[in-house]
């Protein structure tokens, strides 16, 4: 029996599921070892009997929690797919802003027409068994993760910083190029794709265990960044994690 797999999405751009489609089209052999029973973006069939659930997106409104718990109850394995599910992602940027102001800026006097609350990762709502990090996820890492899950293992993700990937890729350090980068505190595993393209790491794969935040801020300061710029850089993908580190609760 092939394991039955379902895909779900909450607040996100669905880019990670598109990356899944892209992975499946490059590795059609994966479709021979799993059975996809639900994938709203790609198919009309809808099966509720699944063992593995991949969830993209963060939880940004109370009414989504019930569905997330329902998936948790059905699935033996729940995998958080991508930065929104894993870290709250960019959706959490607004967690540092007063919620009412955010609502009013976009929706004016109709701000109460919709439901929202501070963005949170899946792990803040349910127990998550495994994570595939990134914004978007890395194709190869997804394919490897599926293989690991089929072998009854948790997908292994690196716990060392991106700088290791960067060295292996033989990139020149962004700091030596006069630019800035969050590589020293960010989880590796993406083959340092952004530095390889001439852009500093934005931290989309999340912080490594025990990151030295003091030191990275100092390095950014020494490279000419203002406190506001540093705060912006550390909040693109890392708002939820840095607020947790600081013990700050969302506005």
């Amino acid at each position: 029996m092939k394991p039955k797999v379902a895909f779900f999405e909450f607040t996100s751009c669905e880019g990670c599921q598109l990356t899944v489609l892209d992975t499946l089209q490059r590795h059609p052999e994966l479709l021979e070892v799993i059975e996809i029973v639900q994938f709203r973006e790609a198919m009309s069939e809808r099966g509720e009997d699944y063992q593995i659930a991949f969830i993209e997106g963060s939880c940004t409104r109370p009414s989504d929690e019930a569905k997330i718990r329902e998936i948790r109850e059905q699935a033996q394995i729940v995998v958080a797919l991508g930065a929104c599910a894993h870290l709250g992602g960019i959706n959490a940027i607004r967690n540092r802003m007063p919620l009412e102001q955010t609502r009013e800026y976009v929706y004016g006097d109709k701000k109460d027409w919709f439901e929202t609350y501070p963005a949170r990762p899946l792990s803040a709502v349910i127990e998550v068994d495994a994570v595939i990090p990134g914004c978007p996820i890395d194709r190869k890492e997804f394919a490897t993760a599926v293989t690991h899950l089929l072998q009854g293992r948790k997908p292994a993700i690196p716990d060392y910083p991106l700088c290791i990937d960067c060295k292996l890729t033989e990139n020149v350090c962004m700091f030596l190029r006069g630019q800035t980068c969050l590589g020293p505190v960010t989880r590796a595993g993406c083959e340092a794709i952004c530095p390889a393209q001439g852009q500093g790491c934005e931290g989309c794969r999340g912080l490594i265990p025990s990151p030295n935040m003091h030191s990275i801020k100092q390095a950014l300061r020494e490279h000419g960044m203002t406190e506001d710029q540093i705060a912006a850089k550390l909040s693109l993908f890392l708002t939820y994690q840095t607020m947790q580190l600081e013990g700050v609760t969302p506005a």
């Binding site: 999405e9 909450f10 607040t11 996100s12 751009c13 669905e14 880019g15 990670c16 599921q17 598109l18 990356t19 489609l21 892209d22 089209q25 490059r26 059609p28 479709l31 996809i36 994938f39 709203r40 973006e41 790609a42 198919m43 009309s44 069939e45 809808r46 940004t60 409104r61 989504d64 992602g89 960019i90 959706n91 940027i93 607004r94 802003m97 102001q101 955010t102 609502r103 800026y105 976009v106 929706y107 109709k110 027409w113 919709f114 439901e115 929202t116 914004c135 978007p136 794709i193 952004c194 390889a196 393209q197 001439g198 852009q199 934005e202 506001d228 710029q229 912006a232 693109l236």
Partner: protein, 428 residues
């Protein structure tokens, strides 16, 4: 008298969450809504206070499908605000990159989201068994499009190396030559795509509306230009609010737009209707083979117009690569801002239609942002199509009516999670 209730909870094979709700009582259409139930995303609020260089990276996360389109419109808005003039090479690379995204998105829509309906299956997966050549062709074309984007901007889903004023990484001439060879080889796949669509039995439903698209000289325009309407009139990008002027209507859960009529259409069919004479000759021939001549007023034919654009973008990408090969690729620094305070509007024809980004920047930080996305502009038009369609098909089975409505919504290729600017209301 007919009584009908349709309630499609989360339309499948579209990007994002939407519901179709139709209520006909005793032959009278009481309700006919495309409800948008996606969570609010607040991008405009999240942009405030951020350094201008972050804007394209942040807004590319509005959408996984049109990430290059959002980044491009965002960069153009920032460049207009800060007085940045990109080099001719940057402009060529952006256009080439943009074609990659149009190709990727259109192939996805035509083959994976739309074709299953016409071939009587629920997804592309069973087609891999019954029509492997069709699926393999789609995969081949999609991979080429994805590889094209990756070569220019590092990655299709959320581009990396596109930045204000230019690029931070450049493709090698060898990469461009390889891409060119693959694009030339894909002409056969383009022809087969046109043949496939020529064989589909598109529903015969027509409703004339206003068609809106960007227009620029002799180009089949995707980036910059002015706003053009099939009902007449041209407007500068800075005046986009005169066209999009968003309104709230009681029967809809999302902000709607209207211009010279009750609704207007943006997207491949609108572009075709407005810029048809600027298509590459091979694309014009493809349109002829599909029996398309402006003005086409059957919304189900959006997929056919997309196929014509697939031919056009493939041909134009070859021409752009030829220009780049002739010029050679220079590793140039991005053009620098001439000021750090200003206001600008950027626009692009993303796969689903005209996209506007509008920023106010002060001392290098964004202080105001407005993004108007194509799906939001199409919503009113989709609903008016549904309202016109339902009474004409009431004699069919509930199942057939539901499918016809789903296919209509799907024809527009709505990108609901782009809902930066949509209201979310729960009906009781």
């Amino acid at each position: 008298m007919t009584t009908l209730k349709v309630d499609v909870h989360h339309v499948t094979r579209v990007e994002g969450h939407g519901n179709i709700v139709v209520d006909v009582q005793n032959g009278v259409l009481k309700q006919c809504d495309l409800q948008i139930v996606e969570t609010p995303r607040f991008f405009e609020a999240m942009l405030r206070g951020r350094p201008y260089l972050d804007a394209s990276h942040l807004t590319s996360r509005i959408c996984g499908i049109c990430a290059v389109g959002h980044a491009t419109a965002s960069l153009r808005a920032t460049e207009q605000a800060l007085g940045v003039t990109p080099s001719p090479q940057t402009t060529l690379l952006r256009k080439l990159n943009f074609h990659g995204e149009i190709l990727d998105s259109h192939i996805l829509h035509i083959y994976m989201l739309v074709a299953p309906d016409y071939l009587g299956v629920g997804s592309v997966i069973p087609l891999a068994q019954s029509a492997p050549d069709v699926v393999l062709r789609a995969l081949r074309m999609k991979q080429l499009a994805g590889d094209l984007c990756a070569a220019i901007c590092g990655r299709h889903t959320h581009p990396i190396s596109m930045t204000v004023g230019g690029f931070t990484h450049f493709p090698s001439l060898e990469t461009l030559r390889e891409l060119r060879a693959r694009l030339v080889a894909s002409r056969a796949d383009c022809d087969a795509t046109i043949e496939l669509l020529a064989g589909l039995d598109f529903p015969r439903f027509e409703r004339d509306t206003e068609y809106v698209a960007l227009h620029k000289g002799e180009e089949y325009c995707f980036i910059d230009g002015v706003i053009d309407s099939s009902d007449g009139g041209r407007w500068d990008l800075e005046d986009y609010r005169l066209i999009t002027n968003e309104t709230i209507v009681p029967h809809s859960s999302a902000k709607h737009t209207r211009h010279q009529r009750d609704s207007y259409m943006v997207g491949a069919l609108a572009r075709f209707n407005i810029n048809h004479d600027k298509l590459h000759p091979r694309a014009r021939a493809a349109a002829e083979a599909l029996g398309l001549a402006p003005k086409v007023i059957n919304p189900y034919l959006i997929a056919a117009a997309q196929a014509v654009e697939v031919v056009h973008c493939t041909e134009d990408a070859i021409l752009l690569i030829d220009q780049l090969l002739e010029m050679g690729i220079r590793h140039e620094e991005p053009a620098a801002p001439t000021r750090l305070t200003g206001e600008g509007v950027g626009a692009a024809e993303v796969p689903r239609g005209t996209l506007f980004h509008h920023y106010q920047i002060e001392d290098g930080a964004i202080v105001g942002a407005n993004c108007v996305i194509p799906t939001g502009q199409n919503l009113a038009n989709i609903e008016l199509d549904m309202r016109a369609l339902v009474p004409t098909i009431l004699d069919r089975s509930q199942e057939d009516i539901t499918l016809a409505l789903e296919m209509l919504v799907r024809a527009y290729d709505p990108c609901i999670s782009c809902s930066t600017h949509m209201l979310n209301v729960r009906f009781v």
